[in-house]
Amino acid sequence: MSKLTLDDLRKLREEKTQEFSRRNNEQDKSSIIIGMGTCGIAAGAKETLNAFIEALDTNGLTNVKVKQTGCMGSCNVEPTVEVVIPGMPTVVYGNVDGTVAKKIVLKHIIGKELLDDHIQDKPAMDIIEN
């Protein structure tokens, strides 16, 4: 990649901000965001990630993106996973192991039904966005 000038950076930011905001509009992007901090990984987030990818593959869900992010703060229920699916509320699930991951794919993504036992909600509102 070449070095940015000020204008390049501004253009890039605009472009990426739009891309990013679409994530929150829940319209066309379905995604699974996995907390991959040390605690998440320690609690098995890598297996969770693999389980998601496998389950999405098995069910032919090609439009759901799997992403990683840092620690979401709810360390006592790691691994934590945020599931963004159009038409469904965005929720954070806790204690998501491989089995739960499969269940999320089947129930939440395909069945459009929340999973009782693992909802953590979003821990906090983000002041920066307001």
Partner: protein, 155 residues
């Protein structure tokens, strides 16, 4: 100082890259330990020539920082977190169990050289306290009753 110790190409390259940077010693020792699992005396002696530093300084540094080891560790390295959360939730019991019932001394190695045991400051998984790590695999919310089963996996 009979025969010299061999460094891998990667390590030699790394040392060459860092040779003239001030404050390189700790970074280079990390790399040496990454290669050997500890810092062998012969490696330290070799470094004295490669980066023009005294052996006394190298040992002063190695023995100051608990991350560096002078002895070859066991085949599997067990780390038990002794951060406050883990301590409050029974980290010491885990260590006691490993020491008394499995003969793995803290900061030492079992007689069969299979396991080394270290108490760590804080692994940063306080939500999973108490935590034990064997070769990067984390066992959280551990009870001492689970230990025999876990160690069996490494036999």
């Amino acid at each position: 100082m009979s025969e010299q110790i061999n460094f891998s190409q990667e390590l030699n390259d790394y040392i060459a890259e860092w040779k003239d940077k001030p404050g390189n010693l700790i970074m280079i020792l990390h790399k040496v330990q990454e290669e050997f699992g500890y810092v062998p005396r012969k490696a330290a002696l070799k470094l004295t020539e490669m980066i023009d530093v005294t052996l006394a300084k190298i040992y002063g540094v190695i023995t100051f920082y608990h991350y560096f080891k002078l002895e070859e560790p066991g085949k599997y390295q067990i780390q038990v977190c002794m951060g406050t959360a883990c301590y409050l939730k029974g980290g010491q019991d885990i260590i006691d169990e490993l020491e008394t019932n499995f003969g793995i001394p803290v900061n030492g190695t079992s007689e069969d050289r299979k396991f080394s045991l270290e108490a760590l400051r804080c692994v940063g998984c306080c939500g999973l306290a108490p935590v034990m790590i064997i070769d990067k695999q984390v066992y959280g919310k551990l009870t001492k009753e689970e230990i025999p089963g876990i160690l069996k996996k490494y036999q």
